[in-house]
């Protein structure tokens, strides 16, 4: 598939991705199916694990392959649950809206995607950073107002915004 880049001294040779896939996809699939219940979702997620490995250009050595793949799979599983719980929350939110405010199916799908993307982008940021960011970008509040609500200085709000925008900028690729 791709030529291996030069690497440092290694006890064992890195395993090419196709070999990794052949050797490890079956147990990974079973492991995921056991947690998800659905074979289709498990297949998708197992696929995503290898996409991560390829995208990350990580060198995987045979001895570490299992724990390495399981760590990635675990992260994806959390993302999956988080997304499913957000999706349910959004559906419940919509169910509580009166009829005239119900968005169309297209808008729902789009908003759901945006919610999931934003959630990923904000993951790991401190509370105040997230709150400030939501207040500025979604509510359109002035920085002074955000500062007052969070009981911090305006210059802190600027720092929060810079931090949140930086995190989002790196993730946001249409």
């Amino acid at each position: 598939m791709k030529t291996s880049p030069p690497c440092g001294p290694a006890a064992s040779a890195p395993v090419p991705v196709d070999v990794l896939y052949r050797d490890h996809q079956p147990w990974l699939f079973r492991w995921l199916r056991g947690r998800l219940g659905s074979p289709f979702r498990a297949e998708d997620l197992a696929q995503d694990v290898f996409v991560r490995v390829i995208a990350g250009r990580k060198q995987v050595h045979a001895a570490q392959a299992r724990p390495f793949l399981r760590t990635i799979a675990h992260g994806l599983l959390l993302d999956h649950y988080r997304r499913a719980s957000l999706e349910q929350a959004y559906l419940d939110y919509l169910a509580a809206l009166p009829e005239p405010r119900q968005p169309s199916a297209e808008v729902r799908a789009m908003v759901l995607q945006q919610i999931a993307a934003l959630d990923r982008m904000l993951a790991g940021l401190p509370d105040n950073v997230r709150r400030a960011f939501l207040m500025a970008q979604i509510d359109g509040l002035a920085y002074a107002e955000i500062a007052a609500r969070l009981q911090v200085s305006t210059s802190s709000v600027q720092q929060y915004m810079t931090r949140a925008l930086t995190a989002c900028y790196a993730c946001f690729q249409d």
Binding site: R52, A55, L78, D79, Y81, R82, A84, S85, L86, Q88, A89, Y90, D92, Y93, A95, A96, P98, V107, M110, V111, Q114, I115, A117, L118, D119, R120, M121, L122, A123, G124, L125, P126, D127, R130, R131, L134, A136, Q137, I138, D139, G140, L141, Y143, E145, T154, V157, Q158, M161, T162, R163, L165, T166, A167, C168, Y169, A170, C171, F172, Q173, D174
Partner: protein, 326 residues
Amino acid sequence: MPASRTDAPLDDPVARTAIEWWVRLQSGQGGPAAAEACMRWRAADARHESAWARLEGLAQAMRGIPSDFAHAHLAGTAPSRQRRAVLKGLAATLVLGGTGAAVREWTPWQRLFSDYSTRVGERRRVALPGDVRLDLASDTAVSAEIGGGKRQLTLWRGQVAIRVQGVEGMQPLVAWADGGRVEAVHARFALLRQAAGMRVDVYEGSLRVVDGEGGARLLSAGTALYRRRGAWREGPADAGAGAWTDGLLVANGDRLDTVLAKLARYRPGRLSASDEVAALPVSGVFPLDDTDRALAMLQQTLPIAVVRWGPWWVRVESAEAEAGAA
């Protein structure tokens, strides 16, 4: 789509600069000069413009997310939030999984203690139990606590029109704003909270207003009470003020700067008037949901020029001054 979880500084200096501009403009620092300088920076290099476009794309995508949903679900506690959210989600599924209806009943935003808010440019109508109807103006936040012997609202920000239909002897609805409170059994009224103080306009029925120091007074239909620099004043209710619930701004010989201040509540960024035109009298009906159109309508009937520096900075000047400068 790869999702990096790091929030390490960007190694792309163009991106860093774009973010600096964004924060500077959004914070209102530097005024029109900064907005102009940012435009020059964007125009100087295609990479600048494309970094800026990425931020605008992000802002655009976020605008579709309902504010109350975002604050309830995306603002949560940080580091181990993901893990805990998963656990909570699983627990909820286990306990309530079999009964879809029960899940719906107990979702947080349906609890009677809840928060409602609108973004800039958005209006929203909310019906609460006990024949209480709220109309939230742009950029408004209200929380409500109704049930369990309580009928309370708090206006945290912005403007809300309240209609409460009750009968004599019923427990009054209490609306708090800025330390004072309004008690109403059967009335239609509007509460406004702004930096300068608060204001109550009564359109139907009557209210009891209790200020932060405990002083109470009765207010009847057609009157307004407002506080400016700590002192309460009474006056006639603003006749056109209720029109915003229909998305309209009614001006009847009002000063241009007053009209612009009302429009400004419906758009992000700054909207201001120069001294020469601030006092021009304005009459007409303007759409609140399309403030650009409202500005265009003003421009057609008044000797003014609408000058824009980027998306957040709009200044209304005398048409002559603008022509002289051009």
